[in-house]
């Protein structure tokens, strides 16, 4: 029961993230949207990979590794957004300026 709550929450986070990624042009919002998708996937992973009552250590190890990877990617992305904003004064990609 509780597992399916986690899995559904994860799926909802992924959906929210995908919406943010497609509908929002502001680069910081997109970075947050990516993190939402990633977190949703990890939550789903933890719930869906629990195959029996025993603790399966592999998803835990993989989720922790994935969080580290996501953190480093976000750091690079935020750094690039800051560099873009400093040099152009905008946090949008050139083609997406009309977006919200």
């Amino acid at each position: 029961m509780s597992l399916s709550v986690f899995a559904l929450t994860g799926a909802a986070l992924v959906g929210l993230g995908v919406y943010g990624l497609l509908a929002r042009a502001h680069m910081l919002r997109r970075v947050i949207a990516f993190n939402l998708i990633g977190s949703g996937l990890f939550l789903f992973f933890g719930a869906a990979a629990a195959r029996s009552t025993d603790v399966d250590p592999i998803p835990q190890a993989l989720i922790i590794t994935g969080i580290v990877v996501a953190l480093s990617t976000s750091a690079l992305a935020v750094g690039l957004v800051v560099a873009l904003a400093r040099s152009t004064g905008k946090a949008y990609l050139p083609d997406d300026e009309g977006g919200a």
Binding site: M27, F34, A48, A49, V69, T73, S87
Partner: protein, 489 residues
């Protein structure tokens, strides 16, 4: 096995050394790391050639708990190609990314990024675990994005951010597929997945992973990020981005469809993937034809040349795996990856020489430069021979093998793509060649050292030699090949 470990750890150690050491010792340390990793890659290939696939269980834990590494013919061959390109890029970068030329920031950042990229590529070439492959892909993405942005110009940063968006979307799709695979089977090891009991979610998982990898490989219609990203970087970085980075995601596509889940390779799915490849060949060629800058022509050519590899899927995959032409088609696809890597690196490095000598890569400004810089002009022409698929180059062998397989299997429609793509390549490469070999000289170039000029020439010559001496690499690529088909063709 030591060579396998050395190929993974030496680039990382050298990357750390090139950050931590005093200013004067950084470049020598990086070059030493390049030399040692080259030796490790060659040594690994020799070991695979003599003893078959080299395997290593990390920490002695067997899958599904542990992670298995294995260098087969395919992984080791890509490792050697990577090493050759890296050496060429390092020699060119010594000049092109000297602090006095490129600025302190780019010259500091390039060496660790290049070495980290090398380590990540080697990790992907030998990994047998889907999650380990994900981590390797992410490392490649992080270093590649940083290489695009290394100049610090607003245009380069925007190109890097757009690249990052596509690459991250690709990673998340891939990761979603990995999650579903683990939830269904409790393992992520490619060898174990091949023997799994089919589950209903497998097709969705494979589709998600493939879609993510296509975005990273820049297959049509996901190619829009590639040309601005590859042309915004300094030439040695573009050579790495174009020759090596897409090969990692391509390799994973092949491993998924041929090794992990070959039972899911339905003809319709293979047809869709190969059709996207065929569209990429034509569309990339048409866009390359209308560009006015040399680097953009070379970048769009990458979109077209990578499309060929997807023709392997219907020719050697699915029901065709047991057919006599499968070995030829499989090897043709890999030959395309190898020869494209060498030739494209040579082209970008030649473009870098022209940028340094003339100060522009507009075709109009390059008129007559073959007379002033004959070695570079010759290198560009040799690389063009491979990309057009003219004999006796590696590109010819690749397209010949694919075309033979297309006719033998009765799927002759793909032969039209091969011929059409070759004609388009001849057309879009004729324009820079005609400009370079024009009689009048548009601009007087600055002198370029012969050693620097020799680098792209050697890489281009290697891509030709791959065709002339194709028997040995052909046999090499069969080592550890997933489906040992009868060698009929």
């Amino acid at each position: 096995m030591i060579a396998l470990i050395a190929g993974l750890t030496l680039p990382l150690l050298a990357a750390l050394a090139s950050i931590a050491l005093p200013l004067r010792a950084r470049v020598p340390a990086a070059l030493l790391g390049v030399a040692l990793t080259l030796i490790a890659s060659l040594w690994l290939a020799v070991e695979v050639w003599h003893n078959g696939p080299v395997a290593l269980l990390l920490g002695g834990w067997p899958p599904p708990i542990g992670i298995a590494l294995q260098a087969d013919g395919l992984g080791a061959a890509l490792g050697v190609m990577t090493a050759l390109v890296m050496v060429g890029v390092a020699l060119a970068a010594r000049v092109e990314l000297a602090p006095s030329v490129a600025g302190a920031r780019a010259s500091f950042g390039f060496w660790p990024l290049m070495l980290l990229l090398w380590g990540a590529l080697n990790a992907v070439f030998v990994s047998r675990d889907l999650f380990n492959l994900y981590v390797g892909l992410e490392l490649i993405t992080l270093t590649a994005v940083a290489l695009v942005a290394i100049s610090g110009k607003a245009q380069a940063i925007a190109a890097a951010l757009r690249y990052l968006l596509f690459a991250l979307a690709g990673s998340l799709l891939y990761l979603a597929g990995v999650v579903l695979t683990y939830a269904a089977h409790g393992t992520l090891d490619i060898t174990l997945l091949a023997t799994r009991a089919p589950a209903p979610g497998d097709a969705l998982a494979l589709g998600l992973m493939t879609a993510g990898l296509l975005a990273k490989t820049a297959l049509f219609p996901f190619h829009v990020w590639l040309p601005p990203a590859h042309s915004a970087a300094p030439a040695p970085a573009s050579a790495l981005l174009s020759a090596l980075v897409p090969k990692a995601s391509l390799l994973i596509v092949l491993r998924l469809w041929f090794e992990a889940m070959p039972d899911l390779a339905a003809p319709s799915a293979l047809l869709v993937l190969a059709s996207l490849g065929a569209i990429a060949v034509i569309w990339g060629g048409v866009l390359a034809l209308v560009q006015k800058r040399l680097k953009l022509i070379v970048a769009y050519s990458t979109v077209a040349q990578l499309g060929y590899v997807f023709l392997v899927l219907p020719l050697a995959g699915g029901d065709g795996a047991a057919q006599p032409w499968a070995a030829g088609a499989w090897t043709g696809g890999i030959f395309q990856m190898l020869s494209h890597g060498l030739a494209k690196a040579a082209m970008f490095l030649a473009a870098g020489i022209y940028l340094a000598a003339v100060g522009s890569d507009r075709l109009g400004d390059l008129r007559g430069q073959a007379r002033a810089l004959p070695m570079t002009g010759f290198a560009f022409a040799l690389a063009a021979v491979t990309l057009m698929g003219l004999p006796p180059s590696g590109g010819f062998t690749a397209k010949y093998l694919l075309m033979t397989a297309a006719f033998a299997s009765g799927q002759w429609a793909w032969a039209f793509v091969l011929v059409g793509g070759g004609l388009l390549a001849a057309a879009y490469l004729y324009r820079p060649l005609a400009a370079l070999f024009a009689r009048e000289v548009a601009r007087t170039p600055r002198p370029i050292s012969r050693l620097w000029q020799a680098v792209p020439l050697v890489l281009a010559a290697l891509s030709i030699a791959l065709g002339l001496l194709s028997a040995v690499p052909f046999d090499f690529l069969q080592i550890g090949r997933p489906d040992q088909a009868a060698e009929g063709l």
